[in-house]
């Protein structure tokens, strides 16, 4: 136990030292040679001990064939070290944090690994906070990795540094690099509550039927991530314009305001949870909605981008934003 503590302490030292040495990084970043570190794993140390024993045996028996085999194994270990190091070199890493996260569930960091080289990368692992994910990136392609981090409360998760590492091939060596990039993940309140939507009280069933069917093209608006691809205005893009999205309005749909003030008598977190549930319900009902909480007002709209903006506002309520 003490040994692993010692190991942990040593790695912490290296981590802070590497952070000082490389300074801040901006994503996407290509892993350069001088930031990849490598050490043998415990299997590597076992191998090294065996290689020493092999050499001694070969020398003691004065056996040239034994020595040839021992030297071959030593060289294999050296080549493996180079291959392990290479497995990380030249990979481009980018991160996306605009993913849904709700308190009590796993928050998901999404990383993108781009491999422009001619060699396959295998078993590249990303370690971010308490989570990690591992996968290979074939030559000339890119892959995304999701690192899930458990969350307890709503708020903002800030990551100053994450780690890329690999033990491929053979697991004798452990090559790793630290990326000093600030990642921020907003964890929305857990969606729950027992209040119905304000509008549902009056119009009831009618509002449900109105949202169906009769949608009309109402104009173009700027592209935001998360919009269904079938709504993209491809012709506009082809003409050389900005990426745009055709927006539709349901004739009968009335914008709805999700109000902090409508939840008098509840404590802050319960209110936020209720608002969160409403946001999700409104989005599911495909009805425009706006959010009004102390210090923040989001005009009615709908779609993935809008929904994310609302959840983010709920997550960051009362927190210092970066």
């Amino acid at each position: 136990m003490t040994l692993s503590n010692l190991r942990q302490a040593a790695f912490d030292k290296i981590r802070t030292w590497a952070a000082r040495r490389h300074g801040r990084d901006s994503l996407p970043i290509t892993i350069a040679r001088r930031r990849v570190y490598i050490l043998p794993t415990r299997y590597g140390i076992m191998l090294a001990l065996m290689l020493v024993a092999m050499l001694i045996a070969g020398l003691n028996y004065n056996s040239n064939l034994g020595l040839a085999f021992a030297f071959l194994m030593v060289s294999v270990a050296m080549v493996t070290m180079h291959h392990c190091n290479r497995n990380l070199l030249g990979i481009s890493v980018d991160a996306a944090t605009e993913a849904d996260a709700f308190a009590g569930h796993e928050a998901r960091f999404e990383f993108r690994l781009q491999n422009d080289s001619n060699v396959d990368r295998r078993d590249v692992e990303i370690v971010c906070l308490a989570g990690s994910a591992i996968r290979g990136v074939p030559a000339r392609s890119s892959e995304s990795l999701q690192v899930d981090v458990p969350t307890a409360t709503r708020g903002i998760i800030r990551v100053a540094q994450f780690e890329l590492r690999t033990r491929y091939p053979f697991g004798w060596f452990h090559a790793w690099t630290y990326v000093q990039a600030a990642l921020t993940l907003y964890v929305a309140p857990a969606p729950h509550g027992n209040r119905t939507l304000p509008s549902a009280g009056g119009k009831g069933a009618a509002s449900g039927s109105m949202t169906r069917g009769d949608e009309d093209f109402s104009g173009l608006r700027a592209y935001q991530p998360g919009v269904p691809l079938k709504h993209m205005a491809w012709k506009v893009l082809a003409r050389g314009g900005e990426a745009a999205v055709r927006s539709y309005t349901s004739l009968a749909a009335q914008p709805e305001w999700l109000e902090w003030s409508a939840l008098e008598g509840l404590d802050i977190e319960t209110r936020l949870s209720q608002l969160c549930l409403w946001v999700l319900e409104s989005e599911a009902a495909q009805r425009p909605y706006g959010l009004r909480i102390p210090g923040k007002e989001i005009a009615p709209a709908r779609g993935g981008g809008h929904r994310y903006a609302c959840l983010r506002a709920l997550a960051a309520h009362g927190m210092a934003e970066p």
Partner: protein, 661 residues
């Protein structure tokens, strides 16, 4: 830890690797050790195929303790190669039994690597090395599969990658092997196993012993003469000398106090190097009679056999000088005379024959001649398949069967000499040899084993008499294969009809000798010669380490380059590269191609902005489009296109426009 569990397929792979590595030890390991390993592997595989874990801990522990105690009882030690290998193999088998997680797999692969090297420590064949490198390759590929996150890469891919790593390791291994300093002797003395019985001449001779050897094609030693070799009838390679005869078997015993009487050499000296294969005895088969030898603990026995302190358990090279004609200046020492006059036990008819003959020929040499004449004139036959003889072997041979091989004749002759009061003994060794004209050395095989006699003649000393030459003189002159009758069973008889096959055999042996000389016997001296060859003056250990460091640095630089080379983005086709060079040139003069712009659209825009470049750019872009999308219709080849791009040098400003102004 669930994910770390090994599956049935994993186990099967690692078991196969272990089995292949152990196959190299199959002749040296006790059978029950192999059986234990096979049973453990079988049990574990059976359990794994049902998805179960290893057997209970108590059972495993019991098996381990029992097996290791048995092993200790068998060897009485765990030190030494045979016991060590057996222990290692047993550990592998027991480890297999308890294999459950990735960690066990790592330990198993390490054991497999070590089992492989253990086989090489005393092995010497090229094929063994090649085989074990193959096993290492397979094991490494298996390890790769087992240590990569699921899904494991397919076999072909793993083998390719492991092969790649091995091939990149080979040059580095070669550098290490050539320049890593060797020590003169072992770091510490290991107990001698000595268990490995080698075929060859032993320290006793019964009728039929040498006949068995005659069937063996194994090489006893090779000889390289500095100058001309001695004539065929003088190529006697002296082995142990037999003094003790019990009526059937000759034995080597002689009084240790007797030292070799001084010899005066006559005739030419023969200098040569003897490359002796290990034969587990301490004598060296020198050409009769050795006078100088380059051997650390070499000494001449009282009966002129060259011996060293330790048995020859590794191939050795000895530089020697011999004279084929010598004369003894001292009288025969008492103990030796008594030993060599001891009349043969039993064999009454032989004793009687000797007395009859001796009374007819009182002079020593006349008597010797009469015995040889008897062999020659009476119906004696030289044969590889003599009938079996009883305890009075000489009687049976001389009077009943009259068929024998060199051992029979030498035995009978010595018995007849002793019975007539002439000191005599049997010398065993080899006679003749095959010249390898492809590499200028002589091969002496086990089938060249021979036995002859020496008698003491006062005033001359020991005189070699080869009774076989009386019955089959060509045996001595041309070697066995030509002598034995066509109906005789000799392995290489059919080779006479196919001379090219014999040539191939000699060529192969030349290769084997090269392997032995250059690889197996590579040592400090060879390293020194290597450094001299590299032009390093006065090489010593320090310089060797420096050369090792320098070549290693070179090797590692090469490796780094080799490994990182593949990281470079894919090389584009020449046409695309030339086109991007064209775009770079235009960008340098302020005409950057927009990412979405095709070649034609780009050319149109360039023509609009810089009319002076219109013709050139238009032609180049048209050629590019043709080469890319309709290569069959292209006016130019890709090489011509690239050359045109190289020749294209756009100016920064429109020269025409500025001159018009």
């Amino acid at each position: 830890m669930k994910a770390d569990r090994v599956s049935y397929e994993d186990l099967l792979g690692i078991c196969a690797c272990l089995a292949l590595a152990l196959a190299a030890h199959v002749t040296s390991l006790p059978v029950w050790v192999l059986a234990t390993i096979a049973v453990s592997g079988g049990i574990r595989l059976l359990l794994a195929s049902r998805g179960e874990g290893p057997p209970p801990r108590a059972l495993r522990l019991t098996i381990s303790v029992v097996a290791i105690v048995l092993l200790f009882l068998r060897f009485r030690t765990f030190n030494g190669l045979a016991a060590g290998s057996a222990l290692l193999a047993l550990t592998a088998g027991l480890k297999l039994l308890e294999t459950e997680t990735k960690r066990d797999i790592y330990i198993l692969t390490l054991i497999i690597y070590f089992v492989s090297i253990a086989a090489l420590l005393e092995g010497e064949s090229f094929w063994l090395l090649a085989y074990l490198i193959g096993v290492c390759w397979l094991t490494t590929a298996t390890l790769l599969r087992l240590t990569t996150a699921r899904p494991a890469p397919e076999w072909a891919r793993s083998l390719r990658y492991a092969g790649r790593i091995l091939s990149q390791a080979l040059p580095l291994a070669l550098v290490f092997w050539l320049f890593f300093p060797r020590f003169g002797g072992p770091l510490w003395q290991m107990p001698d196993d000595g268990a490995t019985a080698a075929s060859g001449i032993g320290d006793s001779m019964s009728p039929g012993d040498i006949t068995d050897l005659a069937m063996s094609d194994d090489i006893a030693f090779r000889v390289r003469f500095k100058d001309d070799p001695p004539p065929p009838q003088e190529r006697y390679w002296r082995g142990p000398v037999m003094h003790d005869f019990d009526g059937r078997t000759w034995r080597r015993s002689y009084p240790a106090s007797v030292r070799a009487a001084a010899l005066t050499d006559q005739g030419p000296a023969y200098r040569y190097t003897l490359s002796l294969e290990p034969h587990q005895h301490n004598w060296i088969f020198a050409l009769d009679w050795p006078t100088h030898w380059d051997l650390p603990h070499g000494a001449l026995n009282g009966d002129y056999t060259l011996v060293q302190a330790e048995p020859v358990s590794h191939p050795i090279d000895v530089a020697l000088t011999s004279y084929t004609h010598v004369q003894s200046t001292e009288p025969l020492s008492g103990p030796l005379r008594r030993l060599d006059l001891a009349p043969p036990a039993h064999n009454p008819r032989t004793l009687q024959l000797a007395q009859t003959l001796r009374s007819a020929h009182p002079a020593e040499m006349d008597y010797v001649q009469s015995v040889l004449a008897m062999f020659n004139e009476q119906p004696f036959y030289y044969t590889l398949t003599p009938p079996p003889l009883g305890n009075d072997s000489v009687d049976a041979f001389l009077f009943d069967t009259k068929r024998g091989f060199c051992g029979h004749y030498a035995s009978a002759f010595a018995a007849l000499m002793r019975a007539a009061g002439i000191p005599a003994h049997v010398v065993t060794g080899y006679q003749g040899g095959t010249f390898n004209r492809f590499a200028d050395y002589w091969i002496v095989r086990q089938s060249d084993a021979h036995a002859w006699d020496e008698i003491w003649v006062d005033g001359h000393g020991w005189l070699r008499v080869d009774p076989t030459s009386a019955i089959a003189p060509e045996r001595v002159e041309r070697g066995l294969t030509d002598t034995v009758g066509a109906d005789e069973h000799v392995i290489s008889r059919w080779q006479r009809r196919t001379p090219w096959l014999g040539d191939t055999r000699l060529r192969l042996d030349a290769l084997r000798e090269l392997w032995r000389e250059r690889i197996l016997l590579f040592n400090q001296d060879s390293q020194q010669q290597l450094l001299e060859l590299l032009g390093i003056p006065a090489p010593d250990g320090e310089k060797l380490v420096l050369v090792l460091a320098a070549t290693l640095t070179l090797g590692l630089t090469w490796l780094t380059w080799q490994v990182r080379r593949e990281l470079k983005p894919a090389r584009k086709e020449p046409v695309i590269r030339a086109y991007s060079r064209l775009c770079d040139k235009l960008a340098a003069v302020g005409l950057a191609r927009l990412p979405h712009e095709g070649a034609e659209a780009f050319a149109t825009r360039v023509a609009r902005q810089r009319p002076d470049l219109r013709l050139a750019v238009d032609a180049l872009c048209r050629d590019y489009s043709a080469l890319r999308y309709a290569p069959a219709d292209a006016r130019v080849t890709s090489g011509e296109f690239a050359a045109a791009v190289r020749a294209f040098r756009p100016t920064r400003r429109d020269s025409r426009a500025s001159s018009e102004r």
